[in-house]
Amino acid sequence: MAKDKLTTRKIVTRVLILTALTIAMVWALLPIVWMVLSSLKTEAGMFSMPPKFIFKPTFSTYAFMFDEGNFGQFLNNSLIAAGSSTVVALLLGTFGGYALARGNYRGKKHIAFWIISTRMTPIAAAIVPLYLIFANFHLIGSTFGLVVAYTTFNLPFALWMMMTFFAELPPDMEHAAMVDGATKFQAFYRIALPQVAPGLVATGILCLMFAWNDFAFASVFTGHDTQTIPVAASLLVSQTGIAWGQAMATGTVIILPMVIAGLAVRKYLVRGLSMGAVK
């Protein structure tokens, strides 16, 4: 009798969990599925009632965006700005993070906190002084300016993350390598770095996501030829209407690379996120 009760309770619990998971999945995925499907419909089909889930897909919106619009250029700008700032932040963040984790000097903790505190500044507060500095250096409207802006926000994050990953590694192996004749850089490069590879990937993905999805910096610092995809998406809302088809297609293009990147490095991402600061 008691066993039966236990089994029934288990079944009910499972059903409840499955129901909750299904609701959560539908809640999270339905808008995305809707967006992707809408991007493959004609404008009329997009608003037909009842909505059609089986239809003949058309790529006309994508073709229009790439052939007649400047979408290729926007995509290129996004890739350059997000990619470059991620590479720079990872490179400097890895060296800096290692130095902070392994270095032994006075005020180390304060320096580490000071670095991450710059990341606590709201973007809105940083935009005005950055604009004044960029205007002085004629960086407004340039992709380089955008890379600098992203790096100012990504670097402290990358540095802090990498510092945490390195700090979690026992230093004994590096010491052993140095006893065997390795230089400090070799100990870092050959011993420590491979061990934090998942953390490096996780940090890279998070930096990339910040830069790729950013609108605040891009809307202010980009010019006519340097606009990124999120800025291009905002252009689809005009004074006299919304280009729904292009908005759906742009949304799809914005999320697609991040989804692919996330799936490709899923294993590292989970390991990375669970080994470091973001637990």
Binding site: G223, D225, V237
Partner: protein, 508 residues
Amino acid sequence: MKKKFLLLLSCLAILSLALVGCGGGEEPAQENEQQNVATGELVAGPFEEVEGLPVIQAPEGFDWKQFEGVELNLISENTPPSSALAANIGEFEEATGIKVNIQQMDLGTLVQKVGLDFGANSSKYHLVYADPYQILAKYSSKLANLNELNGDPSLPKIPGGLDDFIQSQLEIDGYMGSKDNLYALPYDAPTMVLAYRTDIMEAIKEDFKAEYGYDPTPNPEMTWDQYYEVASYITDHADELDVKYGTGHQAKQYDSLMCDFSNILAANGGDYFKNRDLGGIGAANPGPADMTSPEAIKAIKFYDKLLGVAHPASKSWDWNGLAEAFAAGEVAMAPEWHEFASMFENPEQSKVAGNVAWTVLPKGPAGSANIFGGTGLAINENAPDEEKKAAWLFMVWATSPQAQLMILESPVGGATPSRTSVYELPKVKTAMEDPSSEEAKAMPNLTSMSATLEAWKIENSYGRPKIPMWPEADTIIFTELSKMLADQQDPEATAEAINEQLNTLTGN
């Protein structure tokens, strides 16, 4: 150790200041060797002429290519005229050798970018889409005085002169505080008028007339009370009609709500401030608020009542949402910006194409009030002289009757001109008078123009207060109205709240 640390900090601070300083300064003016030698008679410029329109002219000997190589940045809201200009910029660039980058965005981002550019005393944007309330009223000191450029004997003049602009629009778009300086030239002219479904009016005409004793079809003599009756009637009989509600509104907690309400406020003889002369050239200090006047309270009460019979989604619609609902056949009547006419007449975007007519907004005790939402084009005062002059050439071209006609006819544009001479052209007149004509099909925005021209008459036009703190005032107004529409406060409390906050904002 401490000393060393302080020394290091000081060095870093000095280095940062030096870096900021050394990069700075104005961009070196691109001094052009070629001096302007133009004087005397005005002769036609290298642009296509249109019979019946004033010609773009410059003094004899003027070299239209003297600014060749200069690159200008125009920052604009994402609007049809700017899209049309961008699509046709080749004509100007070819004639002058000046490169123009047209950057479009939503108005909020534009205001932020322009504010930053002006704040940094920079001239990244030489040409500015100067919204009268968000840019002109706030930053007029940062805009070039166009009277000086227009009066410069060595430069081209405004074709047709200032008299060719719609005068009420020139006042709102061009001046701030006084008429001493001209800061912008009218560029686009959206105005709120009433769109309605002719098929629905035809369907209810006889029965409604029998019950209420008047024709329900909206017309310039219709009052807001009658509008309410017609809207309620259609909603009550929606089952028998091809529509869901009698009226729809742009009552989202946003600027659109203030615009929608202002029509009713002004029609009742009310206004936001006691000073009633703020809608034209504007003022730095508006004086005390007037939202607790009997007229204002009556207007607020009526608006609350009207929204009670409107499409329930009205409270989540801005002008785009309302336009889409009207085009989808959800509502029979909608106070809407007249430039949505092309969307309503496009069968690909609208289920009601061919069944739409326009008239001025209904009357209140003080007449009909149709809020104006047009914008001017201005030049950044911080720009070096050379670039300012190059920008002036662009202004002359972009606001010329020819360019305004091009914008009207452009498939990516379709905005209505701010020049009276364009409305005198036979093809434009035909399109306005006969919505079924080929001309109207080619320029579908003109189907709302008869009503709009009526709305532009001084007695029917309403300009919201043009004061530097208008963006904040706007937020106060739509926030409090929105609370009322959400049943969080009654109309009297709404009036009190708006009045008090406006006075606090303006220091009165």
